[in-house]
Structures are given as structure tokens and as C-alpha cells.
Symmetry: C2
């Protein structure tokens, strides 16, 4: 297997696909599948086999020619690359409908992302509870996170408030931000932001409706 990409920086789409592969391998493991070929993984994920092998090549050599991949071993290896072997603490800002939904989203904790604090700027929400967490004043975020040391923040506030919330998260030591606000907040280099675009998901469906 070629290893010529091992020194290159993988692209963002490659990283997104790694998450897809991990999910696929996790499901295979659950079904008791021990080994899988790149064709098996391609069929299960919708990514073509050559792309899959190219994506892996950024990170070293995997699998045995003619025998395929050890499902458990590859999953563990990819989880390691993605930084998923340790748990992550997450701050959530925005205690409205979306924030409440995200606080209760079962997939996060299951896969190692624990929301450890919820913040809002609305006096009517501060002090109320979402699940087990009391909503705190967003002004206290940097101080609170000096103790909690969360490195990921989720932004679930209106577009107009997004930049201020992102600045507050960065001031609090957060290094990676998942933004649900329909805005593109700016951050200094060294901080990563992912803007979730739910409308884009509907646009993809629209394509399939007419083809």
C-alpha cells in the first residue's frame, strides 16, 4: 500500500470521511464482522474504495494485501488519529430550543463528548435547569471554564449574538467551536470553527427528488 501521502496534510473532507469510516467500522464490529476489504467499506459508506485507501494513506500503512483490514484494529487506530480515545468536555452556549435539544442529544455522551456547562444571557433562563445542568450567566464563562477546562464549545444562539459568544468561548480557553448560528464568526489562527448548515442537508435531498 502506498504511503506517499503520509507527510502531507489531509484535507478537511478527508477528516470528515474518517468519522464516517469509524462509524461504519463501529457498526461492523457490533455485527461481529472481524475483517473488511476496502470494497466492503466503500459499499457501506458510499465513498469509493480508491478514495478510502487514499484517505488512510495520509496516516500510515493499514491492512494486509489480499486479507483486508482488521475491523477492530482499524477502528481503534482511526479513533486514535481523531483524538477520540479520551473524553472531551464541551461547553454549550444558548439555552433556547436548540440548546435544550443539543443538551439532551444522546449521541454526544455515548461517543465521548460530555456537555459540562450551559450558558445563556437571558435572566429568565439563568438559574433554570436543562437536564442536570443549571444554566449559568454567559459573562461567567471564562471564569467557570478556568476550572472545567473544556476545549470544545457549541454555539446555539441567534446569528446576531454568535460573534460575541465565540469571542467569549475563546477567552475562556476553548480551542474548537461547533457553530449552529447562521453566521460565520471570525477567530484568530489556532482556533477551529465548524459552521453547521442544516439547509445544505435539505438541498442535497432536493437534488435526489428531481433525479
Amino acid at each position: 500500500m502506498s504511503n506517499r501521502n503520509a507527510r502531507l496534510q489531509p484535507s478537511k473532507p478527508t477528516i470528515e470521511r474518517l468519522s464516517t469510516y469509524i462509524k461504519c467500522l463501529r457498526a461492523m464490529k457490533k455485527e461481529g464482522i472481524l475483517t473488511a476489504s476496502s470494497a466492503d467499506i466503500a459499499a457501506a459508506t458510499g465513498v469509493n474504495a480508491a478514495q478510502f485507501r487514499k484517505d488512510l494513506s495520509y496516516f500510515g500503512e493499514f491492512g494486509t494485501p489480499g486479507r483486508g483490514y482488521d475491523v477492530e484494529q482499524l477502528q481503534a487506530h482511526l479513533a486514535n488519529i481523531m483524538g477520540l480515545r479520551e473524553k472531551h468536555r464541551v461547553l454549550l452556549v444558548g439555552a433556547g430550543n436548540l440548546g435544550s435539544a443539543l443538551a439532551g442529544y444522546p449521541g454526544f455522551k455515548e461517543r465521548g463528548f460530555e456537555i459540562v456547562a450551559v450558558f445563556d444571557n437571558d435572566p429568565h433562563k439563568i438559574g433554570t435547569k436543562i437536564g442536570d445542568l443549571e444554566v449559568m450567566d454567559v459573562d461567567t464563562l471564562p471564569k467557570v471554564n478556568a476550572t472545567l477546562n473544556a476545549d470544545i464549545g457549541i454555539v446555539a444562539v441567534p446569528a446576531a449574538a454568535a460573534q460575541a459568544v465565540v469571542d467569549r468561548l475563546v477567552a475562556g480557553g476553548v480551542k474548537a467551536i461547533l457553530n449552529f448560528a447562521p453566521a460565520t464568526p471570525q477567530v484568530r489562527s489556532g482556533i477551529v470553527v465548524r459552521n453547521v448548515d442544516l439547509t445544505s442537508e435539505l438541498e442535497v435531498l432536493s437534488y435526489y427528488l428531481q433525479h
Copy 2:
């Protein structure tokens, strides 16, 4: 420009990237940019220029060699390919926190997706209002949609209820489904389901935290 892919079926990732290109072109148009090279679009979207040109090649020939793409024309062309020139009616099932958040999500209507009805099975929610819409009994969905003729459904219910809701949507004539439940509902051929995986977004952030 090569047109050798024009007869092949584009992959799902290609369709997802088309939505990204449209978004980028829309932003360029807003900024008054009239033409863009594939390198410009690559820089703005994080997709490499060769991939961009390959994605376009499935749909014909675009742009003028040496002059780049007419931003407005390419956006219109891609919107047409994606079926975005006409508005889409959308049914939402689930009037909990997530459903309420989605019903108020500003990006949907702006980009041509109008939620025209909300359903739930909880007697305490049926008859209440989310925005301008009265929550209806999910049992009435097929009958209600005989009039509304929505072709897209959004599933915002717990995992255990997802399959039943998807079956109801399909019975009501819906052809494309965006599923937020952490489940993978089965549908007959001819119906498209996209399962939104929010944890995957956090996994991508996790990668960048450690690299």
C-alpha cells in the same frame, strides 16, 4: 474542459459539495464578485480546484478557459441542477425542543424550504402552536398531506419512534426525509433518507484539537 463524466452518476459527496459551491457563489455574488476561477472557489470552500472541476464535469461544460466562471450564471446553473429554482414544502414531525428549533430555523425558508405543517403524537402538544403552525396529530399526516403535497419530511423524534414516523411520511407521499433521530430507518427504493449525525461534527473538531 473535459466532459467525460457527463454520463456517469455523481456520487453523494459530489452532490454535497455542489451545495457548498452554491453557498460560496451566493456569498461571492453578494460581495459583487462577477467572475471566479476554480482556484478562487477552491480557496473559499476548502475543496481542491481539481475536485471542483471534476464535480462540475458530471453536469456539462462550464466556464471559459482562462477567464473563469461567471458567478451568477454558475450559481443559477447549479441551483437548477439541485432543484432549487422552485420552492419546496416540508413536513416536520416532532414538536419537542429540536422540532421547535427547526421550525424557527431561519435558513430553511430563506433558501426555499418552507415548513408547512408540524406533527406530534403527544396529546399535550397537539393543538398548541409552534410559530404560526398548529401542531397536528401525526395520525392525520397522510390525509393532511393529500392537500399540502409536501415532498420532504423532517424527523425530529426519539430514536424509538423514528421508523414509525418515516413509514407515516412515506404513506403520506413524502419522497425525501431528513432524519435527526439517532437511528437508521429503512425505506423502500425510490425514497431518500439523510441521517444527520451531529456527533460526527464534534469528532472532526476533536481531530483538529490534537493536530
